[in-house]
């Protein structure tokens, strides 16, 4: 009897040990009350996307190992009010997440289907703007969609070409160009869309000598006008890179890349930055920052304060040799630098601590305490979060990314 009991006790202990070791494997990280929400992409083959909670980006490792909300496919992220949107590009389904009542973790609050959403901007009253464009051509219309965060659905939409233009090629054929949206924002009851002209099916850019912004009424979404500037090329490039930055006074700075790596098949104007003064519907003729003169082309960036911008740039020498779309290769083309741009002094300073690294879709930067967090991938096995200080143009290597990149940073 005694033996029997002892044996039973041993068996129970064993089961308990096994069970506890199993559960500790499966148990994800506990969800912190405050921290960062990250859109994380693994380095597995194929990659997979997860939404992670993190408290520390300055050290340690950011990992989806046993942790994070799995996404249905390759995802973009946007925010509509307090609703986080994960837009699964493979399946064209957007999921909405909000923090639970107790603040501990997100809960899925709805989903909607979309045909295309290529360019994102902040909307009013808890909405996001998402513009869909004809990938691969076939038509010239885009679809401006207002996504409502509360109901997780498309509240309003407008089909419009954004801008109609034509191009006559060497064979004297007239080709209609698509206007591919690159950034969108709302100011003073107007909705603005910057774009670049492209031949739909071939992605060629035969017209690169003008920066454009189209203006719509808001909320009616009626087309009003398109304003232009010929000192530099079109604003932004494919995949809603952060290319229109707002400063403390509400002035907007637009980044024109003129970059081959970013998908331009020609560049006829220097890469540079124009200004749209607060509330205006035109470029400020008094302002132009010729970035290319400094030996670099500017791709995307974030405004930090005091006229300082942290940007991802590519040297003119490298860019001139880069294959098309190299700026989207996270792992295989480490060709980018991080730079601090001074909008007033029109200077550029390369941040030496950040190595040459790959580019991203929808390049994410996050400003915190006057510094900028960025996801820097240098090879298949090396990806880190860097904290960039624009005041000194230096950076500190932070947490290791146990994956290929971070697709979005958000503080909560």
């Amino acid at each position: 009897m005694k033996i029997y009991t002892r044996r039973t006790a041993f068996l129970l202990a064993l089961i308990a040990a096994v069970a506890s070791s199993c559960s500790s494997d499966n148990e994800g990280k506990s969800i912190p009350e405050h921290g960062y929400l990250l859109g994380f992409r693994t380095a597995t083959d194929p990659t997979a996307d997860y939404i992670l909670y993190e408290t520390d980006l300055a050290s340690g490792t950011v990992s989806a190992r046993g942790n994070g909300i799995e996404q249905g496919g390759w995802s973009y992220y946007a925010k509509a009010g307090d609703t986080y949107l994960a837009l699964d590009y493979d399946n064209s389904i957007a999921k909405g997440y909000r923090f639970k009542e107790d603040g501990l973790g997100l809960e899925e609050v709805g989903e909607f289907a979309f045909e295309r959403m290529d360019c994102f901007g902040k909307g009013l009253n808890g909405t996001a703007i998402a513009i869909g464009a004809p990938w691969g051509g076939g038509s010239y219309d885009c679809k401006i969609q207002i996504v409502d965060g509360a109901s997780v659905s498309i509240a309003n939409s407008k089909t419009t070409p954004i801008y109609e233009s034509f191009y006559t090629n060497d064979e004297e054929e007239t080709i209609q160009l698509n206007a591919w949206p690159t950034a969108t924002w709302i100011k003073n009851n107007k909705l603005y869309v910057s774009f670049y002209p492209v031949i739909g099916p071939t992605w060629e850019t035969p017209v690169t000598d003008t920066a454009y912004v189209s203006v719509y009424s808001y909320p009616a979404l009626e087309y009003e006008t398109t304003f232009k500037d010929t000192r530099t090329g079109p604003v932004g490039y494919y995949s809603s890179q952060p290319c229109v930055l707002e400063d403390e006074s509400g002035d907007l700075y637009t980044l024109s890349s003129s970059s081959f790596a970013a998908g331009y098949t020609q560049a006829t104007k220097p890469s540079g930055i124009l200004r749209i003064n607060s509330g205006e519907s035109e470029f400020d003729e008094a302002y132009f920052f010729n970035v290319e003169e400094e030996g670099y082309r500017v791709l995307g960036g974030v405004y930090v304060g005091n006229g300082k911008v942290v940007a991802r740039v590519i040297s003119v020498t490298i860019d001139n040799q880069a294959p098309a779309w190299a700026a989207f290769s996270v792992v295989d083309a480490p060709i980018h630098n991080i730079a601090v741009l001074d909008l007033e002094d029109k200077t550029i300073e390369i941040v030496d601590e950040v190595p040459l690294h790959g580019g991203q879709y929808l390049t994410p930067f996050m400003v915190e305490n006057g510094k900028v967090w960025a996801s820097i991938t240098t090879s298949a096995t090396d990806a880190f979060v860097y904290e960039i200080d624009p005041a000194t143009a230096t950076a500190v290597k932070g947490a290791r990314i146990d994956g290929s990149e971070i697709q979005t940073f958000s503080k909560y």
């Binding site: 597995t44 994070g68 004809p134 076939g138 659905s153």
Partner: protein
């Protein structure tokens, strides 16, 4: 009946004695002699291999071979009493007079329904059992008992240890087989030793009527050299029946989802052993079964809760005609057949390889092909025990994939026109009307020499050449670079040599082998800026290995094998299918160390009860494992650099006569990416699955020899993840849920199978079953099959 236990050793002694006598007689006899030979059949004309034939007065006896043929040489002139016996049949005695001239004497044994008792002789083996004894990890499925049960080949295979068949949808869908955890093209399929894929896509396994199949050999791990295969995981060889001289087999099945399957198979034998085989298959299905899907509000994008919707664009039609003529059993050839296969196929696709919110309503694919074939077999070529087996196949196939619609469909069948991005197809990124022409040549030759029944030397060479040229009038509008605009070719040459040694009366068999794999690709590859350029690549790989099997006792057998081998990519893996499987022109051959260990146990007890148990262990280290990766609704094959696999499988089977059988089997496979720290299980492949099968067949009832059969099968597949398991928290991960389903079939046959009718219900409980990437399979369905079969064996 009551003396069974005692009689067994006696009979064994008797057999040994008979064989010994035969041996002695053969060596001392010098007078005028003749040989007596023939075949043993049952009443219905089926061959009865391994029957014993004895010349009673001479005490001379032999056991008929696997083709049921026997031959007793050097019989002195005289009149003899010759008897033929087989367990379960009434012994037959016939008188024969020999006067120096050889005589053919066939026996037709009547089934002993009274007393299928006695004698479970150790020497009693059927072809199925014999295959099990090869020094491979092999599982031979005797399909004869299943022929009246309206089963298709896949269903039969699904019920064998270690085999799992996954199907994307209903009739006509792609199949993916996994054998002991190896899947897709790691497992090769053969029909009479010729790879099934060379006959064209219509010649799917499932289209072969079970009626003309004798047995299915399933090799796990090491594959015999004569199959010429570079399969890593194993091979399945369907052996068709050669028994009947003339036969006609007509079957027609119809069932749920407007599914019709008709098949005719026939053979006619003329003078001088001229044979004509003719067969035709026709399959049609609407495949309009219901799947759970969601509707989308066109304005808000809001997604409804899932509801069942009938599929409306998954119909499938295929037809195939095969004619083959030649001679059999002549001096210069046991089999010489020249044939022609013509086939045509059309399949519609509502879904890709993943579930989508907007199904495709107009996508389809057609192919038609013509395939001349040649088969030559000769045993005792020039010298005794030297056999040659040659097969040559050439095929020309024209395939077209069409995805040109600008409609956006909903699951309820309604559609709207695409507002923008009208260059996109429903499933493809760009609209496509891709046509391609394939030409393929394949030949295989095997030379085998058996010396002293103990030494077997086998040499095989398999050569294949594949050529594809394609054009796409739509895609070329957007892109001057269309895949396959210049011909792409793949050449493969595999040479194998093996030596098999049988010791201890062939109770211990060992095979060693060496293989040489050569591959040459001449393909167009895209560079970084997506321009195509031509490149030629040659690879040479070697493989060696051994396999050994030993009967420790008469009931207990051990098998083990090791090989270091290579699997060359299949044409489709490299070149894609033109629609859902994208090409990967730089796919590398897969190399692997494979180790198998199996234990087989067979215990007859209490008269007619038999207990079989099998257990297997596998361990493998594949390098550059070729794996199918999902890309949205598409997929592509890729190499996984370093993987590790171990697995266990087990099966227990109990049977009583041919009337009752119960089997339970289970397989666990641990297939992992061999990289730290996760050693992640490879996702989207089932890793734990099992089956349970109960079959009951009545003995013959009434004058009309009526038999009633009942079959129950349960399938279980454990839940598995869509993406790498280590990433993300378990409760949020996408998974293919645990699946449990049951199939039931009832059959009725009369006059020894001349008339058959069977009724089947698949997925009785209407449970939700999924396959690749959560693609839902049919719910409960019914099927009725009628079959008429006549044959003639004698001249």
């Amino acid at each position: 009946m009551f003396q069974l236990r005692n009689s067994t050793p006696e009979l064994r002694t008797l057999c040994t004695f008979l064989l010994l006598t035969l041996f002695l007689t053969a060596t001392v006899n010098a007078q005028t002699t003749a040989s007596l030979s023939g075949k043993i059949f049952d009443n219905a004309g089926n061959l009865l291999p391994f029957s014993s034939v004895t010349i009673d007065t001479l005490n001379k006896g032999v056991v008929s071979d696997e083709d049921a043929a026997y031959r007793i040489d050097k019989v002195p002139a005289g009149t003899y009493r010759v008897s033929a016996a087989m367990i379960g049949y009434k012994k037959q005695i016939r008188m024969v007079t020999l006067n120096g001239k050889s005589v053919t004497l066939n026996f037709s044994l009547e089934e002993d329904t009274q007393a299928l008792t006695e004698v479970t002789i150790t020497g009693e083996k059927d072809a199925v059992q014999k295959t099990r004894e090869l020094p491979f990890s092999v599982n031979s499925i005797d399909v004869v008992p299943m022929q009246n049960l309206n089963m298709d080949v896949n269903t039969v295979l699904n019920r064998s240890t270690g085999i799992r068949i996954r199907q994307d949808g209903g009739l006509g869908s792609d199949f993916s087989f996994s054998l002991n955890g190896f899947s897709g093209n790691q497992v090769r399929f053969f029909i009479d030793g010729i790879p099934a894929n060379v006959f064209g896509s219509t010649m799917q396994f499932n289209n072969i009527p079970v009626n003309i199949i004798e047995r299915i050999e399933v090799y796990k791990g090491v594959v015999p050299v004569y199959l010429g295969a570079d399969a890593l995981g194993g091979a399945v060889n369907i052996v068709t029946s050669d028994n009947a001289k003339d036969f006609l087999d007509v079957s027609y099945g119809f069932g749920s989802f407007n599914t019709h399957q008709a098949a005719i198979a026939s053979r006619a034998t003329f003078k001088k052993n001229v044979v004509i085989n003719a067969s035709a298959f026709f399959n049609y299905s609407d495949n309009d079964y219901a799947v759970d899907a969601q509707l989308v509000d066109k304005n808000t994008g809001k997604i409804s809760d899932p509801k069942p919707f009938k599929l409306f664009n998954e119909d499938y039609i295929s037809g195939s005609v095969m004619v083959e003529a030649g001679v059999v059993k002549t001096k210069w050839a046991d089999r010489f057949l020249i044939g022609l296969v013509a086939s045509e196929n059309e399949k519609h696709y509502q879904r890709g390889r993943a579930m989508v919110l907007n199904p495709a309503g107009e996508v389809f694919r057609t192919d038609k092909g013509i395939t001349p074939t040649l088969k030559y077999q000769k045993r005792n070529l020039f010298v005794e025990n030297l056999s040659l087996n040659v097969a040559g196949v050439y095929s020309q196939t024209e395939t077209m994939s069409v995805d040109t619609s600008s409609r956006i469909y909903s699951w309820d069948g309604t559609y709207v026109m695409r507002e923008f991005g009208s260059t996109s197809g429903e499933l493809s990124w760009y609209k496509t009307k891709f046509r391609f022409n394939d030409r393929a040549a394949f030949n295989t030759a095997t030379l085998e020499y058996v010396h002293n029944k103990r030494h077997t030397f086998t040499l095989n060479n398999t050569y294949s050449y594949f050529w594809r040229k394609g054009s796409d009038p739509l895609a070329s509008q957007y892109d001057a670079n269309v895949a396959f605009s210049d011909p792409n070719t793949l050449t493969k040459n595999i040479t194998g040599f093996s030596y098999t040694l049988g010791l201890l009366d062939n109770h211990w068999k060992t095979m060693v082998f060496a293989k040489l794999f050569q591959m040459k690709t001449s393909v167009q590859v895209q560079d970084e800026s997506e321009e195509y350029y031509s490149t030629t690549d040659k690879t040479v790989n070697h493989g060696v290995g051994f396999a050994t099997s030993l009967f420790v006792t008469k009931n207990f057998q051990l098998k083990t094998s090791y090989e270091n081998t290579t699997r060359l990519p299949e044409t489709e893996e490299l070149f894609g299918d033109g629609l859902l499987l994208q090409p990967n022109m730089v796919l590398k051959p897969e190399r692997s160390h494979n180790f198998n260990f199996d234990v087989l146990y067979r215990k007859p007890f209490r008269e007619d009860h038999v207990l079989n148990a099998e257990g297997g262990f596998i361990y493998r280290l594949p390098e550059d494992l070729i794996r199918t990766k999902a890309i949205g609704v598409m997929s592509v094959n890729e190499n996984l650099a370093d993987t590790k696999v171990w697995g266990l499988e087990g099966a227990v089977r109990y049977s009583y006569k041919q009337q009752v059988s119960v089997e339970v089997n289970a397989t666990y496979q641990d297939m992992r990416n061999n990289t730290p720290p996760d050693y992640d299980r490879i996702p989207n492949i089932p890793y734990l699955f099992g089956n349970a099968i109960v079959g009951v067949t009545s003995r013959e009832l009434t004058e009309r020899r009526l038999r009633v059969g009942f079959n129950w099968a349960t399938m279980f597949v454990e839940e598995f993840f869509l993406n790498w398991p280590s990433q993300g928290s378990a409760d949020t991960k996408y998974a293919i849920p645990r699946q449990l389903s049951h199939d039931v079939a009832v059959s009725l046959s009369s006059f020894k199978g001349k008339y058959n009718i069977s009724l089947a219900c698949w997925n009785v409980t209407d449970s939700k079953l999924y396959d690749n990437f959560k693609v839902q399979r049919p719910g409960r369905s019914f099927n009725v099959k009628l079959r008429f079969y006549i044959d003639k064996f004698k001249d």
